[in-house]
Each structure stands twice: as C-alpha cells, then as structure tokens.
Symmetry: C2
Subunit: 201 residues, 2 copies
C-alpha cells in the first residue's frame, strides 16, 4: 500500500514515515504541490480539507494533518494559526514573542494537537482522528532539535523541551505520532470491512 | 449510546433507526433544526458538512448522510442535486421529468449513493463511508412505498422498483442501509482504539 502525504514539507513526510514504520505502508510526498487555503476554524477542518483536495486531484489515497500549539493562558492561541502567526518570521522570533506575551503567566499549561486524516477518493472513505500531548510552555527557547515551536514546549512527565528531547522521544509521544498511530491502527483493523464494503467492486 | 441524526426529516430518522436496530444505539432526531447549505460538489462534502455543523452546535456525537440518484445516461444527474432538482415540485413530477429526459435512453443504468458520516465534536473523530446500490431506471413511475425517487429505481437482481418492493427490501439492500451498517460495524470494531486513543481522558 502506497500513500501520499498531502504536503510539500519534506520534514513532515519523514516524520510520518518514521512514525508509521511498523505498518506495511509506503509513505511518499505528494508528487504535485497543491495549494489549499488553510482557513478553517479548527484543526479538523484544515486536515480534512487538505486530504480531500489532494486526494481528489491525485486520485489515490492520501493522508494529511493539521497541527498546532494551544496555550491556555492565551485563550488557545496560536492554535490553528500556529503556522500563520508572524508567518514570514523565523520560528525563533515567533517563540520569543510568545514568551513575551506569557511573561506574567503563572498558568503555563499548553498542548500540541494534531488531527490526522486519511481519504480514499475512490471509495469516499474519510477518517480523521486527533492526537494530543499535554505539557507546558518553558521560560526560555531551549534546544535545537525538532522544528516549529518545539523549543518552548515541555511535554508532561519531562523536564526538557521537545527541542532538547529530540526526535526519538517525539516519535514516541508527540501529538502527530499519537494521531497517525491511532489512524493506522484503525485502518489496519477495519481493512476487511472496507474491502467487503466497497459496493462497487 | 445516544446519537443524534443531523436532519429534521422524520422519515430519515426512522429509516436509520430501523437500519441500526442490531447495534446498541439510541437514534434521535436532532433537538434543534440547524440550517446547513448543502452546496458541496459531492455527497461526501455535504455529508461531512452536516455532521460537522450539527455536532459542533449540539456538542455531542451525530450522524448525517447525503444521498442521491446517479443516472449514467444523464452524466450523473441528478446526483448531489437530487433533493434540489425542481425543489418546489412533488417527487411525482420530478420523476416524470426524468423519465421524459430518458425517453430515448437505451442505457438505463443508475445507482443510489449514500455517504454516511459520524462525528464526535469532543474528540474530533470523524468518519465517512459510502453505500451504493446499482440498478436501472424504470420506464414508468411505479409503486407507492418508500419516498423520493424510489418509484423509478429498480435495484439490481429485482424486477420491481423500490417503490413497489417496500421498506423491508430497502432496509436490507439500500444505499443508506449499506452505508450506515458499514459505518457502525466500523465504529463498533474500533471502540477500544477510540477510547484508549482519547488522549485527553
């Protein structure tokens, strides 16, 4: 089984490939770059939209995700706007801005959320699941590993940021890892229903 | 488990309740009538849209469907427009109009398609599956049972229309029956993954 990832981000493709190592699936970056306006109000909307557009244009099964950092003290910000907040600035600057906004914050609780979707345009089968990792926002930008907001997020049960902990821990416990593992556990488990259920075969 | 149906159509609620009789689920009509513009280009889009809007407003799990008659000779018409074609006219008149359009048609193949969706707004879990019943368009409007375009559709393997065959056969083989049975076979089978997988519990 070969599945395209609805993204043009090599980073993300590699991460998903590693996460899904144990499943018998070939993960490939989409052969076409397709523009999808990520203007949904929720991770679910954006995730479904990407899977749906890419799947319909490529004509084969695809996976997509939408992810972000949700900070309680900031009312959920940056949330679905995680990628677009200060879009043209490096993440380092964005993180410094977030730490500035949280200077007075005692409640530093936050979570990373990922909604992963699988869509097969041939059978109109669509499924989306959520993965969450709770944690808190650090007081400093720390660590060079990972990407995005990793260097200011300390996952529950740890003392270091995702930026310090690195890929191995992230592949185990991250929001994206949880979402994609759940997604493919489900798809693997219901393979027979889906096959039997394709009324047009 | 109690689930609301994203519809204000009593007919549909009763049909889904009968179809899902064997599953341990209480099916209820949505307590609120919510306007959702069904302007998608596919059954999947409309089905997901209804489930998503109703689910977010009601705050509990919902099911939705979008269905229609797809006629090959008419390039798939009325398809997603099945409900809106001659919207203010009785189905009888709409069926007569379709038979008129197909007067010269030798190829009378058609299918009923249903995309059923389940959405749980608390966990961002969304799933959509398709049910299809192949058949052909009759030469006359026949039978008083069922609703919509049932009296001009003869399902594969039968000689009478859905309008003549009635509810019992329809509950067995219809597009809606196939879609909803597949949907709940899947949900039942992955209950443990979904429970375990709710990272916020």
């Amino acid at each position: 089984m070969k599945i395209f990832v609805a993204t043009s981000n090599d980073h993300k493709v590699e991460e998903i490939r590693r996460i899904l190592e144990d499943f018998q699936i070939e993960i490939e970056k989409s052969p076409k770059k397709i523009f999808v306006e990520e203007n949904g109000e929720t991770f679910l909307e954006n995730s479904v939209k990407k899977a749906y557009y890419y799947g319909n244009i490529l004509g084969t099964p695809v996976v997509a995700d939408d992810s972000g950092l949700v900070i309680d003290y900031l009312g959920g910000f940056p949330g679905v706007k995680s990628a677009r907040f200060m879009e043209n600035r490096p993440y380092k600057e964005r993180m410094i801005e977030i730490l500035r906004l949280m200077k007075m914050a005692e409640d530093r609780s936050a979570k990373f959320v990922c909604v992963a979707s699988y869509y097969n345009p041939k059978t109109s089968f669509l499924i989306s699941v959520e993965g969450v990792i709770e944690g808190e926002i650090s007081y400093e930008v720390k660590g060079e590993k990972g990407f995005g907001y990793d260097p200011i997020f300390i996952p529950e049960g740890y003392k270091e940021t995702f930026g310090e902990l690195g890929q191995k821990v992230k592949d185990e416990i991250s929001h994206r890892s949880r979402a994609f593992k759940k997604l493919f556990s489900i798809i693997t488990k219901i393979g027979d229903i889906l096959e039997l259920g394709d009324d047009r075969k």
